[in-house]
């Protein structure tokens, strides 16, 4: 991964408390798995920012190398990689995600 791509990724993660790398946008998701995570966050009333990886091929590939996670979507909370679609869904279903957000000082 190019150094400037890595810096671009690091900066955007650092500057956004809750950040979802996804395909498409929250209003127009372009992939079912991305839409599912948007659905969970919206259902919990959590405010988040997103990056449409379909608009930046370098970020789309770079984020997979950055997190050692081969797929999109990817959710970051306070600089930490939380998981992809099935982890977020599983955490939401068993109440872990509410717990995780409250420990991170985020109201749901």
């Amino acid at each position: 991964m190019e150094q400037n791509t890595k810096e671009k990724i690091e900066n955007i993660i650092k500057n956004n408390e809750i950040l979802l790398f996804m395909k498409g946008t929250p209003v127009m998701p372009q992939c079912g798995f991305s839409a599912a995570v948007v659905g969970v966050l919206s259902h919990m009333g959590v405010k988040f920012n997103s990056v449409n990886v379909l608009e930046d091929a370098e970020i789309r590939e770079g984020i997979k190398e950055y997190s050692d996670w081969p797929t999109i979507p990817q959710l970051y909370v306070k600089n930490e990689f939380v998981g992809g679609c099935d982890i977020i869904r599983e955490m939401h279903e068993n109440g872990e995600l509410t717990e995780y957000f409250s420990q991170a000082g985020i109201n749901t």
Partner: protein, 78 residues
Amino acid sequence: MSMTAIEIEELILKTFPDAKIIIDDLRGDGDHYAAQIISEKFRGKTRVQQHQMVYNAMDGKMGKELHALALNTSAPKD
């Protein structure tokens, strides 16, 4: 591009020889699977680490030949 359930199982068993594996073909298109994997190798690992171990066992096929592999991983119950 796609994979069969058997190919996925074989790849996982290479890294997790002790694993008990159940694979569901989610859409019948060879591109979207779910897998439940129980292995001693997961003990003490976070869920993200467990899934990363499985994705790394997929020989670079994750996100390429294989679009989605929804995972449910755990260590054997004592």
